[in-house]
């Protein structure tokens, strides 16, 4: 007899009082799909970092231009091509924000700029304040990206949804059209459209939308087709649900994850194309600026005035990386199957 057994008293051999309900009890609180997804997203450090960076840049791009007294097109050739100078930080030499250019000349003294004038990101060749231009440019890049993505979303969801939901001949015709459009390289269409429409905020947005919605419509269609034949939708249909109810209660909520993830990736895509177009001279025209046009202008004089390219390029890179991190995080959170 082992030690443990000796301590057992006969009264332990009475039937135990077990609550039969307890056996069925679920120990963990149940989370809805969205609560669970949000919990997973919060655990993803990269995605949260991306989210904060995006929110920060959006808010900052709205506030920042009001912090200086210079407008986006305030030209003053007397103060052209000034390197950055920031009050306070100018004393720390290695930061390079003390008004000294790459050849070691203090441009502020040479051009006898008043002592109380500071250009935090420097000025461009027309003496415009780069700080104002960078943040206004960020506003415009973001505006175009969000607008284009929103329109793409509406068209894509409607087209894909109708095509998948009605199926049959409707789907056939609609998909043949998409197949041909899908074969056309978006680069080509976008460039052609800009040439015809003349570059501008609206024409760029339109050019992005013209091909952009196809990707969204294909994803929505694929999702809805797979959902349509799932048991819970069939069950709801046999219980007499109307089409409207099927769409609003079953199909759309279950497609929402894919739609959100796709949108998170179309936004950086739109930012990229806008800056790309600006870079090859088809984008935003002066005096208005976008991140892409600022970078393009900056690269033209990068050997002498690197500050002109570095700041808008940094903002662009941070935005692109943040949206990609957030998109990856959302995909992992909303599609647990993809989680690795």
């Amino acid at each position: 007899m082992s030690m443990s057994e000796r301590k057992l008293t006969p009264d332990l051999f009475r039937p135990a009082n077990l609550d039969s309900n307890k056996a069925e009890e679920i120990s963990k609180p149940s989370l809805s799909f969205w609560q669970d997804a949000f919990r997973r997203l919060k655990q993803n450090k990269g995605a949260m970092l991306g989210l904060f960076a995006i929110v920060f840049i959006i808010i900052f791009s709205l506030i920042a231009p009001t912090l200086t007294k210079y407008g986006i097109d305030d030209q003053e050739l007397m103060r052209s091509n000034l390197p950055p100078k920031v009050p306070g930080l100018e004393k720390i030499e290695f930061l390079g924000v003390n008004g000294v250019d790459i050849r070691g000349v203090n441009q502020y003294e040479m051009k006898s700029v008043p002592k109380d004038q500071y250009f935090w990101f420097g000025t461009d060749n027309l003496g415009r304040d780069q700080w104002t231009r960078v943040w206004k440019g960020t506003q415009i890049s973001l505006y175009i990206a969000f607008l284009a993505s929103a329109i793409e979303l509406i068209i894509g969801v409607a087209y894909g949804g109708i095509s998948a939901f009605y199926g049959g001949r409707t789907d056939d015709v609609m998909q043949r059209i998409v197949e041909i459009l899908y074969g056309i390289p978006n680069l080509v269409v976008i460039i052609l459209f800009i040439i015809i429409l003349d570059p501008g905020i609206l024409s760029i947005t339109l050019a992005l939308v013209i091909t952009g919605w196809i990707g969204m419509s294909r994803i929505v269609r694929a999702q809805i087709i797979s959902l349509k034949n799932r048991e819970f939708v069939l069950a709801s249909r046999t219980l007499g649900s109307t089409n409207g109810r099927l769409i609003s209660k079953h199909l759309l909520p279950n497609t929402l994850g894919a739609i959100i993830v796709t949108s998170t990736f179309t936004i950086p895509g739109a930012i990229f194309f806008e800056s790309f177009l600006s870079f090859i001279g088809l984008g935003i025209q002066p005096p208005v600026a976008s991140l892409g046009s600022l970078i393009a202008d900056g690269f033209r004089s990068i050997r002498i005035y690197p500050h002109l390219a570095i700041y808008p390029a940094s903002v662009l890179c941070i935005l692109m990386i943040s949206f990609n991190l957030l998109g990856d995080g959302l995909r992992d959170a909303l599609d647990p199957k993809m989680r690795r």
């Binding site: 074969g183 680069l187 052609l192 040439i195 015809i196 790309f276 690269f299």
Partner: protein, 309 residues
């Protein structure tokens, strides 16, 4: 399989026809004739020029002529240089463009594959995280920003490599590398996901249960099977490379098709814009078609399924 290919080629031709038509009519929408700006021309000279290029014909006739010529591979004349054809410009630019593109594709694919395989094999380690950080940066940062930074730091500041132009092998490194960053990132990410999925399958467990060595499991079973779907991203990658080449060639002053295209956009050389557009479309559509057929050939599951239908 044959029926499938024929069907795909028909779709491809239809797509190209749609693109050519859109291009043609969009260009017709632009006001004025190409020669209106040249003040030195007299009315008769202008008429003669218009007549020579067939611009006096009614639009439908012009359209038919245009499409007929296009079908024969004739893209017309450029406005920039006297008597030079768009075809000759494209042929001249093809060499440098194809070289940079191919170098970037080769380098990017090899590095991306290695990175992706290592990341998957060392899943959830530092190496994995490092590779994925590189991938996110590579996908997120536009190649022209990357090219500009490389040019400034390595070309201008450190003077390790030539800043621009196209005069020998050392001139290839910066542009090809800038262009390959996106390829590295895309391939690495795709390969990692694919490898992780395959490493978790039953048939890998089965292979291990046969006593097959670790390297055999990794190369014969996992890598081989992961490589098959990689083919599917070749199409989007080719589009990315072409997009990238437009600006990369511009930044590094490489005399390629992309540089000519951007120049043509800036000086409104419509025949070159149209010609290059159609050339690019043809290239992309053809690459996607070839990739799809290739995929069918290397994946035995599709190979047979296609053969039976």
């Amino acid at each position: 399989m044959l029926r499938y290919i024929t069907q795909r080629i028909l779709y491809m031709l239809l797509t190209l026809l749609v693109i050519a038509t859109i291009t043609f009519f969009l260009m017709k929408l632009l006001p004025g004739s190409p020669f209106n700006n040249q003040d030195k021309l007299t009315e008769t000279q202008r008429y003669a020029l218009n007549e020579k290029y067939g611009l006096n014909d009614p639009v439908p006739v012009q359209y038919i002529n245009y499409i007929t010529k296009l079908a024969q591979g004739d893209l017309g004349y450029t406005f920039q240089f006297d008597g030079r054809t768009v075809n000759s410009l494209i042929v001249n630019g093809m060499g440098p463009s194809a070289t940079v593109g191919f170098e970037a594709l080769l380098f990017g694919t090899i590095v991306g594959l290695l990175l992706g395989i290592l990341a998957a094999l060392r899943h959830n380690t530092f190496l994995d995280y490092g590779a994925m950080v590189i991938a996110v940066f590579g996908i997120a940062i536009p190649s022209f920003v990357f090219a500009g930074l490389l040019q400034y730091y390595i070309g201008v500041k450190l003077e390790w490599l030539p800043v621009a132009f196209w005069n020998g092998p050392e001139y290839h490194i910066l542009p090809a590398f800038s262009l390959s960053v996106g390829v590295i990132a895309t391939v690495a990410r795709f390969m990692r996901t694919e490898m992780l999925e395959i490493l978790g399958t039953d048939y890998i467990l089965m292979a291990r249960s046969k006593g097959v060595s670790k390297s055999s499991v990794i190369f014969k079973h996992s890598v081989r099977n992961s490589l098959i779907p990689i083919v599917t991203i070749l199409g989007p990658m080719a589009i990315g490379l072409i997009t990238g080449s437009l600006v990369i060639e511009n930044i590094f002053a490489i005399p390629g098709i992309g540089e000519q295209f951007v120049k043509a956009i800036q000086v409104n050389d419509y025949p070159v814009i149209m010609g290059t557009t159609i050339f690019y479309s043809f290239l992309i559509v053809a690459i996607i078609l070839i990739v799809d057929i290739l995929y069918g050939i290397i994946d035995p599951r599709i190979r047979v399924a296609g053969g039976k239908s």
